[in-house]
């Protein structure tokens, strides 16, 4: 059918990124419905649609198409982070700060060293580490540990938006995922600095932490300023708000990249400011949701198209081992953290479910490793991508099941809505 569509009277037509966009929207919507019928989150359907249509699936989309569609990612991440910030009300923070702090602390202090140890223990079976001395392998193992700590704010937010879950688990997930996103940055910078010194012989630069702290502080300040600007725009602009959100999303992303700010943090703070310091929070949420319906399908389907099936095929035994190890450590770390925080039983029992997912943040950091440490980084990135592929598929399902077991899904919804509601919309 598709081949027929793409051959007008014997003339081969590719369609380019616009066709790919449309195809992903349609395929994502169809697979989202199928996933919903199979009692899975729609997001899983979007990912599967992307995997099947992607360059390593049926190759309906080529690598260039996927690259071109990544333009949508900036907008999707902006919308996700804005909504995340808007969900973080002062009341939510008051209720959850203790739980969030302990959970983040226990995950950081348990997952990073244990996953690094596991990596070191399995290093003999990874050929790309041959030739490195023990200290260098340890340095790479620490990077692996930090990468294992990364979560997917996008997936967490998308699931919360799709299911419209409300309750302690949902609130806790939101707070931790945002905090961990910030905590990972200095840890990753430190691990990279050590590894670079060990493998490439570059001196350890303490100043990078000062720069990082400056950037994070500047990101918070910029987020506050942008939040006030967004509120002002919402006050002035009454009609074309979808257009406004699109423009603000791309504009602030471009500015943040230019000024080297943490884009996600900027948007989260901006959303937080609009919701908590102005009266336009509900307007922002409504407009973001209106805008995000189609954007989210493309975002997650594109993420699916990027899943490296070849890497997964080659590395599946070791990837599977790391996947299970990370999941088990996440469960343990979360239980420890929630017991220390004296959380309600439902959070103690199911508090790990939001943190299995990994996606763009992890792949982004792995790409940095590949650039900075070309000798081992590329192979390491391939392994990361293989593990992320598993986490990406399993994470949304586990989190949705967790929300269902916690009884935080709206009464009219079984696990996710079986109607025609689309994620984000």
């Amino acid at each position: 059918m598709l081949r027929t569509l793409r051959n007008f009277d014997g003339v081969a037509v590719h369609g380019g990124p616009v066709f790919s966009l449309g195809f992903l929207v349609i395929a994502g919507a169809v697979f989202g419905k199928l996933a919903s019928a199979a009692r899975l989150p729609k997001l899983t359907g979007f990912l599967v649609a992307g995997i099947l249509a992607g360059p390593q699936g049926f190759a309906i989309l080529n690598v260039d198409d996927v690259k071109a569609l990544s333009l949508i990612n900036a907008l999707a991440l902006a919308l996700i982070a804005l909504q995340a910030g808007a969900e973080l009300t002062l009341g939510t923070l008051q209720r959850t700060w203790r739980s969030v702090m302990w959970s983040s602390l226990s995950q950081t202090s348990l997952i990073v060293p244990v996953m690094a140890l596991l990596f070191f223990a399995l290093s003999g079976s990874m050929r790309f580490l041959d030739g490195l001395d023990t200290a260098s392998v340890v340095a790479v193992a620490v990077i692996w540990g930090v990468l294992a700590l990364t979560r997917s704010p996008a997936v967490t937010l998308a699931i919360l938006s799709e299911t419209r879950a409300r309750g302690p688990l949902a609130e806790h997930a939101l707070g931790v995922v945002v905090l961990l996103d910030v905590l990972v940055l200095p840890l990753f910078a430190a691990a990279m600095a050590v590894a670079r010194g060990q493998i490439s012989g570059q001196a350890f630069e303490v100043e990078i932490f000062a720069h990082l702290a400056q950037d994070l502080f500047a990101s918070v300040c910029a987020g506050t300023a942008f939040g006030l600007v967004v509120a002002l725009l919402l006050r002035v602009i009454t009609r074309e708000r979808v257009l406004m959100v699109v423009v603000v999303g791309y504009g602030i992303t471009a500015l943040s990249a230019y000024l080297r700010y943490d884009t996600l943090l900027v948007f989260v703070v901006a959303g937080f400011v609009v919701m908590n310091l102005t009266r336009f929070g509900p307007d922002l949420v409504k407009t973001s949701e209106q805008t995000s319906a189609g954007v989210m399908i493309v975002f997650f389907a594109t993420a699916g198209a990027k899943v490296d099936l070849v890497a997964l095929q080659q590395l599946w035994p070791i990837a599977l081992a790391f996947f299970f190890a990370r999941a088990i450590m996440t469960i343990i770390a979360c239980r420890v953290g929630h017991r220390l925080a004296n959380d309600v039983p439902v959070v103690t029992r199911l508090g790990f479910t939001p943190f299995i997912s990994q996606a763009g943040v992890t792949i982004g950091l792995a790409t940095i490793v590949a650039d900075v440490l070309p000798d081992v980084g590329k192979a390491l990135a391939t392994l990361v991508i293989a593990v992320v592929g598993l986490n990406e598929l399993a994470g949304p399902v586990i989190f949705t099941l967790g929300l269902k077991k916690a009884g935080e899904l709206p009464p009219h919804v079984d696990h996710v809505d079986h109607g025609d509601h689309v994620v984000g919309g």
Binding site: L5, V11, P17, F19, L21, V247, Y250
Partner: protein, 403 residues
């Protein structure tokens, strides 16, 4: 930084466009000309705020935008709600008169367009260099610009006549654009007749796919909109790549859907997307059109010709000289000419960019003329105009003059 500049520019436009108080009266009526001029100013040939590569990279966005608007125009053209308000006898008489008005004004408009398009030849300017291209361009421009003459709301026959004219108004643009496909010299890999068949077939296929994916009229609005977004992008991508005008397929799809119950629901659901889409499309047209003396001359002549056509057709239809308000409403352009011309230009029609620039000049001139004629009167905007303020749209009773 140019990307940021464009975004900030669009933000400013959205801000101004949402503040009718700030843009009341004349300025609001001139929003299309202002957007076109803004686009020309920002383009690489103007102040060069936008680089050539950036403008080129925005082409897919324009392809999606014109197809989206094509569907919306098509949906509107199939609206028959107004005609229910008149009696059968009135409708019968009105249908006959409407047919005469539409056929005669369209013919006159196309002939005038053909005359205007030959003017550059007489002046020694760049011109459409062969007969099929000239005839096709005349059909595209003449058909899209004429719309349907507005009728004052004096009696029941005029009301019925007006609703009949609305029914067929934008369909003229659809029909002319399809006929033009078969007349124009071959430029896509397909022969002209096959190109016309493929475009019409694609439009029908898009409507069918939307019907299948978008669910019933009672289904979820978000699903319908997302399905349409997918359908539009797939159609625009494939047709654009095949060198065919995707907006024409969109017009066909919209008109087909418009006659179903789903179309009525879609029309209401998509109405809020029309204005932002128009803002973006008109601005992008401004950035991409190469302004030349030929386009200025032909566009100006086309606008003047439309003034005559509108005056004569309306006078004949209502039996007396039309008021300035009615004439201004009729002359104020819809976005159909820009949408159809942009689509042909994107498809790679020879002299397609000249066609787009000519349509843009004609639209701008018509809007300026309408603003001048309607100065001091409370004239309404046509249904597809960019400058419809919400207050006017809300207060407009269903049978008030619209195009």
């Amino acid at each position: 930084m140019s990307t940021i500049l464009v975004l900030l520019l669009l933000l400013s436009i959205a801000t101004l466009a949402s503040r009718p108080a700030a843009l009341s009266g004349l300025l609001d009526r001139l929003l299309t000309p202002l957007l076109i001029m803004l686009g020309i100013g920002c383009a690489p040939g103007g102040l060069a705020l936008l680089s050539s590569s950036l403008v080129e990279s925005l082409e897919p966005a324009l392809a999606v935008g014109v197809t989206w608007l094509g569907i919306l125009i098509g949906l509107r053209s199939a609206s028959r709600e107004a005609s229910r308000q008149a009696g059968r006898a009135d409708q019968g008489r009105a249908s006959l008169r409407a047919a005469i008005v539409v056929v005669s004004s369209t013919s006159a408009s196309v002939l005038l367009a053909m005359a205007a398009l030959t003017a550059p030849h007489l002046l020694g300017l760049r011109r459409y260099d062969n007969a099929p291209l000239l005839a096709g361009a005349a059909l595209i421009l003449g058909g899209a610009l004429v719309g349907s003459p507005p009728i004052d709301r004096d009696n029941r026959i005029e009301l019925a006549l007006r609703s009949r004219l609305i029914d067929v108004g934008d369909l003229i643009a659809v029909a002319c654009a399809i006929v033009a496909l078969a007349i124009l010299p071959p430029w896509s890999p397909l022969p002209p007749s096959m190109a016309a068949v493929v475009v019409v077939g694609s439009g029908l296929l898009l409507a069918l796919v939307q019907r299948l994916l978008g669910g019933s009229a009672n289904g979820d609005p978000a699903t319908r909109t997302i399905a349409l977004l997918g359908v539009v992008a797939v159609g625009a991508g494939l047709l654009h790549d095949a060198g065919l005008p995707s907006a024409v397929a969109g017009l066909v799809a919209g008109a087909t859907l418009g006659y179903t119950e789903l179309g009525r629901v879609l029309r209401a659901a998509l109405a809020p997307t029309e204005r932002p889409a128009r803002i973006v499309v008109v601005f992008l047209v401004g950035t991409m059109m190469p302004l030349s003396l030929t386009s200025l001359v032909v566009g100006g002549l086309l606008a003047a010709g439309q003034l005559v056509v509108q005056f004569v057709a309306t006078s004949w239809a209502v039996g007396h000289r039309p008021s300035a308000r009615v004439l201004a409403t009729g002359l104020s352009s819809s976005s159909a000419p820009l949408v159809v011309a942009a689509s042909y230009a994107l498809a790679g029609l020879p002299e397609g960019e000249l066609l787009l620039a000519t349509a843009a000049v004609a639209v701008v001139t018509m809007d300026v003329l309408a603003a001048a004629i309607g100065l001091g009167t409370r004239w309404q905007f046509p249904a597809g105009a960019l400058s419809t303020p919400p207050s006017a749209a809300q207060s407009t009773p269903p049978m008030v003059v619209q195009r």
